[in-house]
Amino acid sequence: MESFVNETLVRGLMHENPATYEYTWLVQVVWMVTLAFLAGTFGAVISGIYTWTERRMAGRIQSRIGPNRVGPAGFLQWIVDAVKLLLKEDLTPKDADPILFKIAPYFVFLGFVMTFVALPFSASFVAADLNVGIFYILAITALVVVGVLMSGWASNSKWALFGGIRSAAQVVSYEIPAGLSLLVPVMMAGTLSTQGLIQFQGGPQDGAWWQVGGWFWNWTAFANPMAFVAFFIFFIASLAEGNRTPFDLPEAESELVAGFFTEYSGMRFAVFTLVEFGNIWVMSALAVILFLGGWEIPGVSHAQIAASPWYGYSLISGGIFVLKTLLMSLVVMWIRWTLPRIRVDQMMNICWKYLVPISMVLVVLTAANELLMAWASPLVLSLLHIVFFAMAGLLPAVLFFKQTFKNIRLMGDRVDLSNW
C-alpha cells in the first residue's frame, strides 16, 4: 500500500520524490480516506444486494417466488425499498428518550462500517492494513451492541427492552468463543494483520505449483484438527454476534415482535436493517480471511502477484475473495431459512458450557502444536497434514454429498431444479 502511494501516486502522478516531498503523508491520508469511503459504500451497497439475495433465496427455499417486479429478477427491489424507507416519516415515540433514540442507529452503523477499514478485498485493496487488524475488527464491532442496547432502552417499549437485553447478553457472551477460536489462526500465523493472516495461507512460496498458493490444503481450516474445530466455533459465534438464525433471539419475531428496533421507522429502521444484512458480509469475510484462504490464488506465489499489474493477478485475487465470501454468505442465509430458533437459556448453555471450554482447549492445544512443529521433521509434518486433510476435508465432503443425494432420492419426482 505504501509503495503504491509512494511510487504510483507521488512519483508517477505528481512527479515528486516521495522521500523528500513534504506532503507525502497527506497523499497517504487522502488515499486512505478514499479507500475507506469506497469500502464503506461497498458495505452499504452489499447489504442492499443481500436483502434482495436473501429474499430471492428464501423464495426458492420456501417454494414461492420472492421479489420479481422491479428490474431483472427483481434486482432493483433493494433500491426501491431504501428510497421508500428514506422518504418515510422519521417517527420518535412520545415517551422515548429522544437523544438516545436518535443516535442509537449511528452507533450501530459506525460499528458496522468501520470494520471495512481493515477488511481486505484483494492482495492490494485494503483501506488500512493495520498490524492489529483482527483485534481492531473485534473491538469496533462491539459498538453495534452499544447501539442496540441504547435503542432497546431509549425506545421505552418493553419488547424493545427485551430485545436489547437479549442482544447485549448474547453478543457479549459470544464474543468470548469468537475471540478465543480466532486466536488459533492468529497463533499459527503469528500476526494479527488481516493481510498477514491471509498470506500465511499461501503455502511454501518456493514450492511447486501444487504447493504454492491458495489450494484447499493450504487453508488454515485444514491445517490441523484444532483449526478445523476452531473454524466451526468461530462460525457459530459469529452467527450469534450477527443475530442470525438460530441465534436471532434479539429480534425474535414470534416472541418479541421485532426486538430492539420495534419502535423504529423510516431511515433509522433502514439503518438497522442495513447493518443486519451487511454483517453477513463481515462475518463471511472474516471466516474467509481467517480460515478459508482469503484471496490466495491457487498456484500463484506472492511475488508473482506483486509483480503483476493491478488488472492481473491482483484483480483475480479480489474475485476469488469476493466469490468465497458470497458463497459463505449463501450458507448463512441457507441456515436462516432452515433452522428454528433456540431459547435464551439454551443459547447461554451452548456458549458457556460448550463453545468457551472447547475453544479454550483449542488455544492451549494450538500453543502445544506450535512448539511441536518446531521440533518435528518436515516429512512427518507433511504426512500429518495429508492425513488430516483427508479426514477434515474429504470425509465431510463425502458425507455431505451422500446425504444430499439421499435427500434428493427421498424427494423423488418432487425435486424441481428447472426453475433456476
Binding site: 437479549r166 438460530p246 425474535a252 416472541e255 433452522l339 430458533r341 431459547r343 418432487r414
Partner: protein, 383 residues
C-alpha cells in the same frame, strides 16, 4: 375493558412491584389472531400469563336466534375459519337430530371426505405455525403450498376456498364434480410423501426437539380436568376420539387409528407430543380419505327436507371431532322456524383455560410454544 373486568384481572396478578407487566397482544405475531395475554415476567421467566378473550366476539350464537335454521349454515363457517367443515357438520347433525332425519349414505361419505380434507388443511396450518412460532418459517410455507392444493379441491367441490358452506341439513350441497375423485387420489399420492418430507424438515430437527421436548407438559389428569379436546387431549396420552368412541356419519365404517401422545422425545403430554399428534393425524386422514373414495356409495346426496325447517320443540346435542378437538353443537327448538338457542362448545376456548395455570415459571419463548402447541384459533375462542 370495563372496571369490573379490570378488577378481575388485578386480582389474578401478583402485586409484586419487581415484576414487569407486559401486554402480549392483541396485536402480536404469535397470538394467532386477536388474543391478548397479560404477562407478568421476572426478566425472561414468566410469573403468570392471563389470557384476555373477547376481542373477536361476533355474537354468532345470538345471530342464530334471528335467522331460520338453514340460513344459519353460512354463519357456522365463521366459527373456525380454518376448519369450517366441522362446524357445518356439527350444526347440521344437531338439526337433523331435532328433525329425526336420516342422511343418505352417499352424503355421509361426502361429509367425511370434505371434513378429512379440511382436517389436513387445518393441521398443516397448525403444525406449520407451530414451527413458525419456534422460528422456522419454511415448514409453514411448505404447508401452505400443500394447503393450496386442498383449497383447489374444495373449491371445485363447493365453490369456496375458506368458508365452505358445503353441508346442508339432511346432506350436502353438491355432489362430486366429474373427475374429482381422481384428482383427490392424485393429491393423496402426492401428499403422503410430503408428510415424511415435513418430518425431515422440522419434526426431526434437533433444535426444534430441544425447544419442545419436556416443555409445557400437561398430564392426562390435567388435560381431562381442564377439558382439553382433540389433538391437545390426545397429546397428553388420553385415548379419546369422537369419531371412534361416539361415532357419527360414515365413521363407523371406516378404519383408522387414534393417535395418542407417547412421549416421542420427552415426556407424555409435552408440547412436542401435541404437535406430533397433529402430524400423525394427517397420515390417518389420508388413510380415511382413501377408504372413503373406495367405499363411496351411489345414490342421493341430499335427504328429503321440508322447504320450511320447523322442528318440534326440544333440544339436541351433536358432537363432532373437529381439527381443534371435540366440537359440540347444542340446538334448542321452540317449535318455530328459528332456533330458540344455539350454543357451540369449541376446542380452542377450552384450551385457553389451561394457559394461565401452565404459564407459571415458563419462559416467554415457551409461552409461544404453549399457545402454538394448543393450536388456538382466535375466532373459535370468542365466536
Amino acid at each position: 375493558m370495563n372496571a369490573a373486568g379490570q378488577n378481575v384481572l388485578l386480582e389474578k396478578l401478583s402485586q409484586d412491584s419487581d415484576l414487569m407487566l407486559l401486554n402480549m397482544g392483541p396485536q402480536h405475531p404469535s397470538t394467532h389472531g386477536v388474543l391478548n395475554f397479560v404477562v407478568q415476567t421476572d426478566g425472561e421467566v414468566m410469573k403468570k400469563a392471563v389470557p384476555q378473550i373477547g376481542y373477536l366476539h361476533r355474537g354468532i350464537e345470538k345471530i342464530a336466534e334471528q335467522v331460520q335454521y338453514p340460513q344459519f349454515m353460512p354463519y357456522t363457517d365463521r366459527v373456525d375459519y380454518l376448519a369450517a367443515m366441522f362446524a357445518n357438520e356439527g350444526y347440521a347433525l344437531a338439526v337433523e337430530k331435532l328433525l329425526g332425519l336420516e342422511v343418505p349414505p352417499r352424503a355421509k361419505y361426502l361429509r367425511a371426505i370434505s371434513c378429512e380434507l379440511n382436517r389436513i388443511a387445518s393441521h398443516l396450518i397448525g403444525a406449520g405455525s407451530m414451527a413458525m412460532d419456534i422460528g422456522a418459517t419454511t415448514p409453514f410455507t411448505h404447508g401452505l403450498r400443500e394447503r393450496e392444493s386442498i383449497n383447489d379441491l374444495l373449491e371445485a367441490l363447493c365453490g369456496a376456498r375458506l368458508t365452505y358452506n358445503y353441508h346442508r341439513i339432511g346432506g350436502v350441497a353438491f355432489d362430486l364434480p366429474d373427475g374429482w375423485a381422481d384428482r383427490l387420489r392424485k393429491f393423496l399420492d402426492h401428499f403422503e410423501p410430503f408428510v415424511d418430507e415435513f418430518d425431515r424438515l422440522i419434526s426431526d430437527n434437533k433444535i426444534y426437539i430441544e425447544r419442545l421436548a419436556g416443555v409445557c407438559t400437561i398430564t392426562a389428569e390435567e388435560a381431562v380436568a381442564w377439558g382439553l379436546a382433540g389433538p391437545s387431549l390426545r397429546g397428553s396420552g388420553v385415548d379419546f376420539d369422537v369419531r371412534r368412541d361416539l361415532p357419527y356419519g360414515a365413521y363407523p365404517e371406516l378404519k383408522f387409528e387414534v393417535v395418542t401422545g407417547k412421549g416421542w422425545v420427552g415426556q407424555v403430554g409435552d408440547a412436542y407430543d401435541r404437535y406430533f399428534v397433529r402430524v400423525q393425524e394427517m397420515r390417518e386422514s389420508v388413510k380415511i380419505l382413501r377408504q372413503c373414495l373406495d367405499k363411496l356409495p351411489a345414490g342421493e346426496f341430499q335427504a328429503k327436507v321440508p322447504k320450511r325447517v320447523k322442528p318440534e320443540a326440544g333440544e339436541a346435542l351433536a358432537r363432532v371431532e373437529s381439527a381443534r378437538g371435540e366440537m359440540a353443537w347444542y340446538v334448542v327448538s321452540d317449535g318455530t322456524d328459528k332456533p330458540y338457542r344455539v350454543h357451540a362448545r369449541t376446542g380452542s376456548f377450552m384450551a385457553m383455560g389451561i394457559i394461565e395455570p401452565k404459564s407459571e415459571g415458563l419462559m416467554i419463548a415457551d409461552l409461544v410454544a404453549l399457545i402454538g402447541s394448543l393450536d388456538i384459533v382466535a375466532p373459535e375462542v370468542d365466536r
